[in-house]
């Protein structure tokens, strides 16, 4: 202790820590967007349920990851050799390669990424159905808006922050694992970089962007409107399961025109995504598809309507009563 402090007596910590003015610089409102997104994700991942769902998404990713590896490994074995699977089963090498390449398409082709993104997308929908209340709904239910809107941010910054959180969540399960699979396929292949590979890389990003565009605004709008988990989940079940069943029943069973299939929003998003990837969906999987222009129109319109609804809904929030 210095001589001075000894003479003065030892001050307590409280004497040092008094209210102090802030002398730093205040940043613009766009910086708040990242804070909102980060905080929303942190709140979401405080719940074990979301870790569980995220791990489920990773299981599918590992299926593709090791499937690609297995295909390359099987290709490197002797042509006449049967490959042992587990303690008893033996699969002829050719059958295994055919199964992985043609049936499961784990060959790094656009078809593989289409299947992967479509499968991951269904898990994203389950997560979104459960996350909506946590992300946005609770702000309505617990009247948190005086907290947000008394700060130097506007509705746009709030929506961008929440949207960014949902987009990160979605892309953590779709685009980022797909890019990892892309680089894995590249490393396991011939290491050459061609225009086709670049196009595939951009297409994966494009598919991710379409999923983000199609699902995130709808999540924000449904969460703002319904606020609680059960109604939000029911809305998602209606939109993506019930309408899927209705569209399929009308077109494939009752013989209605194929454009009725545009009722199935998830199919619409996947149609646009597959077009971006350059994948022609085989007739066996999709016997009749609606006009692409109609599908594209729906995929572009629903998020815009969602944004308009969000703007109206948030403008009517009583920040002060």
């Amino acid at each position: 202790m210095s001589e001075f402090l000894r003479e003065q007596g030892t001050p307590s910590m409280g004497d040092f820590l008094e209210y102090r003015p802030y002398r730093g610089r205040l940043r613009g409102p766009m910086s708040a967007v990242f804070a909102i997104a980060r905080t929303s994700l942190a709140l979401l991942f405080r719940r074990k349920l979301f870790w569980g769902l995220y791990l489920l998404g990773l299981i599918i990713f590992f299926l593709y990851f090791f499937g690609q590896y297995l295909l390359v490994w099987a290709g490197s074995q002797d042509s006449g050799q049967a490959i042992r699977v587990g303690p008893f089963a033996r699969i002829p090498r050719k059958e295994m390669i055919d199964g992985l390449r043609n049936m499961l398409k784990m060959d790094g082709s656009p078809g593989m990424f289409h299947n992967f993104l479509q499968t991951q997308g269904s898990i994203v929908m389950v997560i979104f159905a459960l996350a909506g209340a946590q992300l946005v709904g609770n702000d309505f239910r617990f009247r948190s808006f005086p907290f947000y809107f008394s700060k130097p941010i506007g509705i746009l910054h709030y929506l961008l922050g929440k949207g960014l959180a949902a987009a990160v969540l979605l892309n953590m399960l779709t685009t980022i694992p797909a890019l990892i699979l892309f680089f894995q396929a590249w490393f396991l292949g011939d290491w050459s970089w061609s225009e086709g590979k670049f196009r595939l890389f951009v297409s994966i990003l494009g598919y991710g962007a379409i999923l983000t565009w199609g699902l995130v605004p709808l999540l924000l709008a449904s969460s703002a409107g319904l606020t609680r988990t059960i109604p939000i989940a029911m809305f998602w079940i209606f939109s993506f399961l019930f309408l899927h069943g209705v569209a399929e029943g009308l077109v494939d069973r009752l013989g209605y025109p194929a454009n009725w299939k545009a009722l199935d929003l998830w199919n619409d998003i996947c149609q646009v995504g597959s077009r971006i990837l350059g994948v022609v969906v085989e007739a066996k999987n999709a016997p009749k598809q609606p006009d692409f222009s109609l599908v594209l129109g729906i995929v572009l319109t629903i998020p815009i309507l969602s944004f308009i609804y969000l703007k109206i809904r948030l403008s009517r929030v009583e920040v002060l009563r």
Binding site: Y19, Y22, L26, F147
Partner: protein
């Protein structure tokens, strides 16, 4: 002194229908109490000042920023809402730190300042607890912390003592006084409690029907009423008859010695008159054989005065919309100097 808040012929409302104004108001750096019954326009005024609602006409400046400059305006304002406005699942420190980031502080600065503020507001023990577990008093303090995080020169405090017990209320009002006196914070205190305004504010305005009915220094409101005293007696003999100007009130008496003109503020003549009046009361009490336990000049009851002002202005009849039916009228400003 520079005006921190200045409104010129401001009119505001909803869907083009004015519910506030035209209002002209100047607030120098300091403390201003905003009083008024439900539907008086307090919330509308706060919305305009926060830049959430655009005025229909008129103009104004808040801490050097013109009204309507949106989120830039809110950089110089700290707002403590009446509603909880908490984010469930968040800890106290995360909440205040998040508020700092929304206000434009870097993550590091925000976190550091949040720790400091929670210490100053004596919440450091509870900083890692979830907000859901906070008591009402703690919630009020954390709401104040998030309003102070970016060190704004002007605070808008909406019912800061709402739901607090007497000791919690005292602590909150002391804190507000300290913030003003020691740290130069100006604040606009929006409340129904006259006692809160009396303790913390230098000036007050009374709003009703969107109009300013009264603007005064708080000190000048609490006037002594000349020749009226509150008296409490001990050992009053049975069957004793008190003079007619002794009116029973509560556990004592209100003694009105008749109008003599002037006030009993500070002049020597007034002081002499008070002394004379007091002697007279002692004499009258001793004549019936009672002992005077307490004697004090009567102060004007602010509740009565505000009720009278509101009644004169038709404020009780002018309350708007849904709130009108639930409003008990002009007497709904509870509390007073002794509250």
């Amino acid at each position: 002194m520079a005006a921190i808040l200045e409104l010129r012929e401001l009119t505001a409302g909803y869907q083009g229908k004015a519910v506030l104004g035209p209002l002209s108001l100047t607030m120098e750096s300091g403390t201003l109490g905003l009083l008024g019954p439900n539907g008086a326009g307090k919330s509308t005024l706060l919305k305009v000042l926060l830049g959430i609602l655009h005025p229909i006409s008129g103009s104004g400046m808040v801490a050097g920023f013109p009204l309507g400059s949106g989120h830039r305006l809110r950089r110089v304002i700290g707002y403590m809402s009446e509603a909880d406005a908490l984010i469930p699942g968040m800890t106290g420190i995360d909440y205040v730190s998040f508020a700092g980031e929304l206000a434009g502080l870097s993550r590091r600065d925000s976190s550091r300042r949040a720790h400091e503020l929670l210490h100053v507001l004596e919440l450091d023990e509870a900083r890692y607890r979830l907000l859901d577990e906070y008591s009402t008093g703690m919630k009020q303090r954390i709401k104040l912390a998030q309003a102070l995080i970016h060190d704004p020169p002007l605070l808008f405090l909406d019912e800061p003592t709402s739901g607090l017990d007497p000791s919690g209320r005292d602590a909150m009002l002391d804190l507000l006084q300290t913030l003003h006196k020691n740290h130069g914070k100006s604040f606009l205190l929006c409340t129904h409690l006259l006692g809160d305004v009396e303790r913390t504010c230098k000036d007050m305005i009374l709003l009703s029907g969107g109009q300013v009915l009264l603007r005064e220094r708080v000190a000048s409101l609490s006037r002594t009423i000349p020749s009226e005293f509150r008296v409490r007696l001990l050992q009053i003999p049975p069957d004793s008859v008190l003079p007619n100007h002794w009116k029973p009130e509560g556990d004592g008496f209100l003694v009105h010695l008749g109008p003599k003109g002037g006030t009993s503020e500070s002049s020597l003549a007034d002081q002499n008159r008070v002394t004379e009046d007091t002697r007279l009361i002692w004499r009258e009490a001793s004549q019936i054989g009672a002992i005077v336990a307490h004697i004090s000049p009567r102060h004007e009851d602010l509740r009565e005065r505000f009720a009278q002002i509101l009644a004169e202005a038709g404020g009780g009849k002018d309350l708007r919309g849904k709130k009108q039916s639930t409003s008990p009228g002009p007497t709904q400003i509870p509390g007073g100097p002794n509250e």
